[in-house]
């Protein structure tokens, strides 16, 4: 092993530690008793007690908020994919005037902060009667996720060889039949990854959700509003609940995140 490789591995381990050690701290905090959490100095190893976690999930409002979060996230994932899949397919398969303008518009939505969007939407939603509902939040989250998911999906479809589709047509499929039988099965994992991205964005989003809800907050909003009075065990267990989906979902979609039109944005 050359000196350069040793340096490379050393750097990699240091950087990984910078990410992983803080996560370990939260795991320890979430799986420790209240006594251990308040007992300074802290132990580097948890006592694997479920006391804090149980305290968190049985706190008034938490189960409802968690359920809201999950419903909103699933709605966002489905809605985003339904809107993005046709658009992504069009971008990947057709050459047409306006394609670049569309791409550019989609990319430029990034410059518009969620703060500007969510407040007028709250006013609209009050008029439409969907303020403080899972639908309102899901509609907002879909607007946030849509631009990036369109680009992700277009990359997915571009990765399915057009020859497959043409072969299916040669063998007698209609255009839609070819799409269903040749494209969908090959694109499915990529489409699932794109939807996962939308789900994760929604589960994590807190600013818009806090503007758009009142009595029915999502989990991050519930934790945020209670933060000033929350005891430490509640905070640490809550943090683990907020972090947990990332461990699985990033593992599933990590390779697809690379190279999506200037990088996708999770909030």
């Amino acid at each position: 092993m050359t000196a350069r490789r040793v340096l490379g591995y050393g750097g990699a381990v240091l950087l990984a530690g910078w990410i992983l050690v803080p996560i370990w701290f939260v795991v320890v905090g979430a799986f420790s008793t209240a006594d251990a959490i308040y007992g300074y100095p802290l132990a580097a190893w948890p006592d694997w007690s479920l006391e804090s976690m149980r305290f968190f999930v049985t706190s008034a409002g938490v189960p409802e908020a968690l359920l809201s979060s999950v419903i909103v996230a699933v709605l966002t994932g489905v809605l985003t994919l339904l809107l993005a899949a046709p658009a992504g397919y069009a971008l990947a398969r057709f050459v047409f005037p306006g394609a670049n303008a569309y791409r550019l518009t989609v990319l430029s939505t990034r410059a518009f902060p969620v703060v500007v969007l969510s407040i007028p939407l709250a006013v609209f939603f009050l008029q439409w009667g969907i303020y403080d509902s899972v639908w309102g939040v899901a509609l907002m989250h879909t607007a946030l996720a849509l631009p990036f998911v369109v680009l992700m999906v277009s990359a997915v479809f571009a990765g399915v060889p057009v020859d497959l589709e043409e072969a299916a047509q040669v063998f007698g499929c209609s255009r839609s039949g070819a799409f269903r039988r040749a494209v969908v099965p090959n694109a499915a994992p990529g489409l699932a990854a794109a939807a996962t991205f939308a789900v994760l964005l929604s589960y994590n989003e807190v600013f818009a959700a806090s503007i758009l809800t009142l009595q029915h907050p999502t989990l991050p909003v519930f934790v945020l509003t209670g933060l000033t009075q929350a005891p430490l065990p509640f905070r640490y267990a809550g943090a683990l609940f907020l972090l947990a989906p990332a461990f699985l979902f990033i593992l599933l979609i990590r390779r697809r995140l690379l190279g999506v039109g200037g990088g996708p944005t999770l909030r």
């Binding site: 658009a87 057709f94 990332a246 990088g263």
Partner: protein, 302 residues
């Protein structure tokens, strides 16, 4: 290949598709739902935001809400804190992200593992990251535990001391550097992978050291990528919110926390929209500055 294309054309004709027929409209039809959605849920609230900011709770057009915003004691501190966070974070994050991207693109073993770990914070919410770092910086937290066990301090330090704004801002910088560097990593990895191997080999032929290679080959080739990453990161930095609340409580203000407070506490959508427009304005100005300061070759006319 020509026969296949012919056969496809024949098949399409047989199924009723013709050049210039429905085929021509199909892409627009496919884009329509997403365009309609973005018009309703993106463009229209954006326009409405101006309407809200330039009216007030008493009704009628005017600068009342904007004046109320400028008159707020917390307005300028919030602006400065937002800008300071950006200026301190950008170089720190780019250095970190560049190192991480080098690890991912170098041919070290377990590349999938490094990629996973470096991208993990991308899936972590602002609030989750904020509480995570709170558990480290709180008085009976991890940082004090570690420092004291190393004998560097005698008793716990109050890192989140609200009478010491700089200290609190420092903790927010650390938390944000941890959380949002992944996004830059994703963008930079794309750019690094696009550098042709020949260029790097040429640098080796001329005995360029690692520093020279970075300075004269890698960074110039990465220019457009770095520009994209800068824009994305800058725009998002103006929206920093939950990390600040988790670490700074109600004592530290940034523009987004002010906007949120205007709506959730004062129930004033007009004032909140005025804050939103300030964020939009500084974002657009920052993007403009970056575009002018880092022109691509094409724009420089080379």
């Amino acid at each position: 290949m020509a026969e296949v294309t012919e056969a496809v054309r024949a098949a399409r004709t047989a199924t009723g598709e013709r050049r210039g027929g429905p085929q021509r409209w199909l892409p627009y039809l496919l884009l329509a739902p997403s365009v309609a959605y973005l018009l309703i849920f993106f463009a229209s609230p954006m326009i409405q935001a101006f309407g809200l900011a330039f009216t007030s709770t008493t009704g009628g057009w005017g600068l009342e809400s904007v004046r109320a915003m400028f008159g707020d004691d917390r307005f300028w501190p919030a602006v400065w804190t937002t800008l300071i966070l950006l200026v301190v974070l950008l170089p720190l994050q780019f250095a970190l992200a560049l190192a991480m991207s080098m690890v991912i693109t170098s041919r070290l073993r377990a590349s999938g593992f490094w990629l996973y770990v470096f991208l993990l914070p991308l899936g972590v919410s602002e609030l989750g990251a904020g509480i995570l770092w709170y558990s480290i910086f709180v008085e009976q937290g991890w940082l004090n535990t570690v420092l004291q066990s190393l004998g560097l301090i005698d008793r716990p330090v109050i890192w989140l001391d609200y009478r010491e704004p700089w200290r609190v801002i420092g903790t927010i910088v650390v938390a944000e550097a941890w959380r949002s560097t992944s996004l830059i990593v994703i963008i930079l990895v794309g750019g690094l992978r696009a550098i042709p191997r020949d260029y790097l080999e040429a640098a080796d032929v001329f005995h360029a050291g690692p520093w020279q290679r970075m300075r004269h080959v890698v960074l110039p080739m990465m220019r457009p990528t770095i520009r994209t990453a800068l824009i994305v990161r800058t725009v998002l930095a103006f929206e920093v919110f939950a990390t600040v609340v988790a670490l700074g409580g109600t004592a530290t203000d940034v523009l987004a926390t002010q906007a949120n407070r205007a709506y959730t506490e004062y129930q004033d959508a007009h004032l909140a929209s005025a804050y939103g427009l300030v964020i939009l304005l500084v974002s657009l100005v920052a993007v403009g500055i970056i575009l002018v300061a880092l022109p691509t070759r094409k724009e420089r006319g080379q």
